[in-house]
Each structure stands twice: as structure tokens, then as C-alpha cells.
């Protein structure tokens, strides 16, 4: 193991475990190489200082209360996800029914055409909405 490999293994030892074999190779090299011994001491001191110097900050005790207060100020969802679909269905039903009553065509024809048009319009709208949502994501 040369100096470069030794120093890399040494750095590795601060990040993860080194095997017993690597550890003994490291110790042997360090005992014979003053440069790497100095590097090892410096890195150990640095590790200790970083450990002490980078202290985990703590959230204040009012963190959650503050968050809840901010959430309480947010506007609620005006309606559930399924409500527009229901509104569309109800609106289509009323429109088709009115057409069947008012238009001078046979009722089955008006109903059939109305249902087909409503279904096509709903499908097109669903495709457009999901395309827009994907684009927004």
C-alpha cells in the first residue's frame, strides 16, 4: 500500500468501516511513514472538530403551533374532486332532458344524440385536463 492508497483508505475509514485486513495494512504503513502518520493525526483531529463544530440545530418549540396557525389561514378546497364531474353529469342530464322536451324531433333520437355528445365532450375534457396536469407537473 503506497501513500496515496493509504490516505484514501484513511479517509474512507471516517466514512465507513474498513476491513480488519485493511486496518492492519493502514497501521503498518502509518507506523513506517511519518508523512502519512501526520496526515492520520490531522484527519482525526479534524474529524473531532467537525463532529463538535457541526451541532444539530433544533426546531423551536413553537414550530408546529406556528405551522398550524399558517395552515389555518389557508383557503379550504372549495369542493371535493368529484364534484365537477357530478355537476357535469347533472347539467348534461338537464340539458338533454330539456332538448327532448322542446325540440321537434323524436325523443329517442334526441336522447341518443345528447348522451353521445355529452360522453364525447366529457372524454375530450378528461384528456385535456390530464394533459394539462402532466404539463404542470
Amino acid at each position: 500500500m503506497n501513500c496515496r492508497e493509504t490516505q484514501e483508505r484513511l479517509l474512507e475509514s471516517f466514512v465507513g468501516a474498513v476491513s480488519p485486513l485493511e486496518k492492519s495494512q493502514l497501521e503498518r504503513h502509518i507506523s513506517e511513514c511519518p508523512e502519512c502518520a501526520k496526515f492520520a493525526v490531522l484527519q482525526s483531529q479534524l474529524d473531532l472538530r467537525l463532529q463538535e463544530g457541526i451541532a444539530a440545530p433544533q426546531l423551536s418549540s413553537g414550530f408546529r403551533a406556528g405551522l398550524r396557525a399558517r395552515i389555518a389561514w389557508q383557503p379550504r378546497e372549495p369542493w371535493p374532486d368529484w364534484l365537477p364531474d357530478l355537476a357535469y353529469l347533472a347539467g348534461s342530464g338537464v340539458a338533454i332532458g330539456s332538448c327532448a322536451l322542446l325540440l321537434p324531433f323524436p325523443v329517442p333520437v334526441v336522447l341518443g344524440t345528447g348522451v353521445l355528445v355529452a360522453f364525447l365532450a366529457y372524454s375530450l375534457q378528461t384528456i385535456l385536463v390530464s394533459a394539462l396536469e402532466q404539463k404542470t407537473d
Binding site: 471516517f14 467537525l50 463544530g53 426546531l59 414550530f63
Partner: protein, 170 residues
């Protein structure tokens, strides 16, 4: 409590319960990630609140195909980076975080010195080394939080250690 518990509540549309669990499980990690980017505890707490507020608003849009933590950390990184760009407080060292009392004066000064040394490293190395120590030396956690391969995290750690050693020596 696991991500699966939270996802199960989300599938049942129990947003408030899911959000509480999410807070219990992730508030500390999110705060540390924000802190590693902003480097100021008070500002990091404010941005952490912004992040959870945003998460509360978009929780119904969460797509369970993506891992919950990956989704959360992506929002955290993006929001933190926006906050960093928006403010110029980073130009000076926020010493209000380091007001050592008489009893811990030495420790406080040492913390200040380490912070000053860290500031001389490239941004990504600062984040990696800060998170590494905040997350109890878990390379896996750091890689996941910063969306980097573990090998890259180790490489940043090694470079940062070599650079810091050079600074201490000089």
C-alpha cells in the same frame, strides 16, 4: 411508523392524519437539509415551515408511484434553493447563531471557526459535510437527501476533508 403507514392514510384521503405522521417522521430531517443549504437556523426553520405548508397544500396531488421521501426532499431542495437565491443574507456569516455564553465560550468559538472554514469550501462540499455530521455519519441518508449517488457523496467528503486539512495546516 413507516412511509407505508403515511401512504396508506393518503390512499384513504385522510390528509390531516397523514400530514401529522409526515411531520413526526420528517420534520427534523427536512429542517437539517434546509439548514445544510441555508446555514442559518432561524431562516432554516422559517423555510421548513414554508415547505410543510406547501406539502399540506399539494398532499392530495401526491403520486404514490414516487417514494414519499424522494418527493419530500425534492420539494425541500427546490424551496431551499429558491430561498437562498431570494435572499442575500448568506453574504455574511450569521453570527446570531453563535452567541456563546461564558460557560461554552470555547465550544462556541470552535463552532464559529469550523463554520468559517466550511464557508471556504465549494457549496456542494459544504452541504455534504454538514449533512454527513448532522445525519450521524450516514452516507446513505446524505445521498438520498441530496439526490446524489453514494460514491459522489464519498468523493465530496474526501475532497472536503483534504481541503479542510490544508486550511488547518496553512
Amino acid at each position: 411508523m413507516t412511509d407505508e403507514d403515511i401512504q396508506s392514510l393518503l390512499r384513504k384521503r385522510r390528509w390531516a392524519a397523514a400530514f401529522e405522521l409526515l411531520l413526526d417522521r420528517y420534520q427534523k430531517k427536512v429542517f437539517r437539509l434546509v439548514y445544510s443549504i441555508l446555514k442559518e437556523a432561524a431562516k432554516a426553520e422559517e423555510v421548513t415551515q414554508d415547505i410543510f405548508l406547501k406539502i399540506w397544500q399539494v398532499l392530495p396531488d401526491y403520486d404514490s408511484r414516487a417514494s414519499l421521501s424522494t418527493w419530500l426532499y425534492t420539494i425541500t431542495r427546490n424551496t431551499s434553493l429558491s430561498a437562498l437565491r431570494a435572499e442575500s443574507y448568506r453574504k455574511t456569516l450569521p453570527i446570531e447563531d453563535f452567541e456563546p455564553s461564558a460557560a461554552n465560550w470555547e465550544a462556541g468559538m470552535q463552532q464559529l471557526e469550523i463554520k468559517q472554514l466550511l464557508q471556504r469550501l465549494p457549496e456542494v462540499q459544504q452541504q455534504v459535510i454538514t449533512l454527513f455530521y448532522l445525519q450521524d455519519r450516514s452516507v446513505e441518508d446524505v445521498a438520498h437527501m441530496l439526490d446524489l449517488p453514494e460514491g459522489t457523496v464519498k468523493s465530496h467528503l474526501h475532497r472536503a476533508r483534504r481541503a479542510l486539512a490544508d486550511m488547518v495546516r496553512s
